[in-house]
Point group: C2
Chain length 208, copies 2
């Protein structure tokens, strides 16, 4: 942030159009992955889905690898914002804050973005180049998600176990996300989340 308080110059219409096209392509690719699976997320198919010419799509994403890389960046950004959006509005009391922190973690893994990421994941299990592409991005995301969950659970750093509990929370949330991919699991999930929230409260009180 070196620009201080200056108002940014308005974008050129051409530049703005290009940005919107890129955004539309990424949105379509995420939807395609989540709804129709890995095979549907080629540059040509995504261009058609987005109503963008194949030439324009190839200008933004010359290869499928470029498209998938950008999709994952977007997915991890979206998943991170899901988790961070609510931190500003966290309840003040311990019980309310723990419940909100768990809800946030679960929200990361139960949206369209996670369903899209899961398809890339499954494809990467048999594609070592794709795996090498994903792992550092996933590592960065995991770190950010953990930091946010620790902050949400324990903003004042009062509980020595909050880092380990945040880790369990995120692994549990990932498992709940996977259980939600084939059918709506929200009722069962609400009970699991309630149990886990209560266990965190007991554990933090017990070990503080």
């Amino acid at each position: 942030m070196t620009s201080g308080t200056r108002t940014p110059a308005p974008r050129e219409p051409q530049q703005e159009r290009s940005r919107l096209t890129r955004e539309r392509l990424l949105r379509s690719a995420i939807e395609a992955l989540a709804q129709d699976g890995w095979a549907s997320a080629t540059v040509a198919a995504v261009a058609e889905r987005a109503g963008v010419s194949r030439g324009a799509a190839q200008h933004h994403f010359p290869t499928r690898e470029a498209l998938i890389t950008a999709v994952l960046e977007q997915v991890f950004d979206d998943m991170t914002s899901t988790a961070s959006a609510a931190i500003a509005t966290m309840p003040d009391d311990d019980a309310g804050r723990i419940a909100a922190a768990v809800d946030r973690a679960v929200a990361i893994y139960t949206g369209t973005e996670f369903k899209a990421a899961l398809q890339v994941w499954a494809a990467a299990a048999s594609d070592s180049a794709l795996r090498e592409l994903i792992l550092p991005m996933e590592g960065k995301f995991a770190h950010a998600a953990h930091q946010m969950t620790v902050t949400a659970l324990d903003p004042e750093g009062r509980y020595p176990d909050s880092r380990r509990i945040a880790q369990v929370t995120l692994d549990l949330a990932r498992g709940l996300g996977l259980a939600d991919t084939l059918s709506d699991d929200s009722r069962r999930r609400a009970q699991v989340v309630a149990t886990w929230t209560e266990l965190i409260r007991i554990a933090l009180t017990h070990t503080a």
Copy 2:
């Protein structure tokens, strides 16, 4: 079991050969899914991988749907045996038993079978016929896994919360399994498992 104590008649060699061929095909299909993904698990490709003629493979599995159904039955059976095998040898003390129960639940979701199931899962996200096929089998498996985990955690039914804690354990184990699909996550997982085992101990003691 209406046969009482009679020794079963020895199988016809032909029948035995057929059984072994079916088993080899299923084993190859599970490996193909886990290592090479959904696209690799066709009847023809699996026949080749298993060293079985295409005709013999089609005799056992006339369609891909028949093959995938049998694979899932085998996978869920294998995952259930993983969990039940150790129940007979559970430690007597609470702490040892809880640790063993969590280890069993995690073992369900970190083997080749889960990696194969994950590929079917991902494919089913965009295939409603496959989804309809999976959901009842998955429901049956989830029920069995829950029963076994409750029994392992709390064989004497002393803890009112053991059913809910078993549920959280299985969702967490599923999330840990997913984290293990792209790289060996065993070191990080050991810490998460240790934390969770300790939290269960605290929770059961607290609420008993």
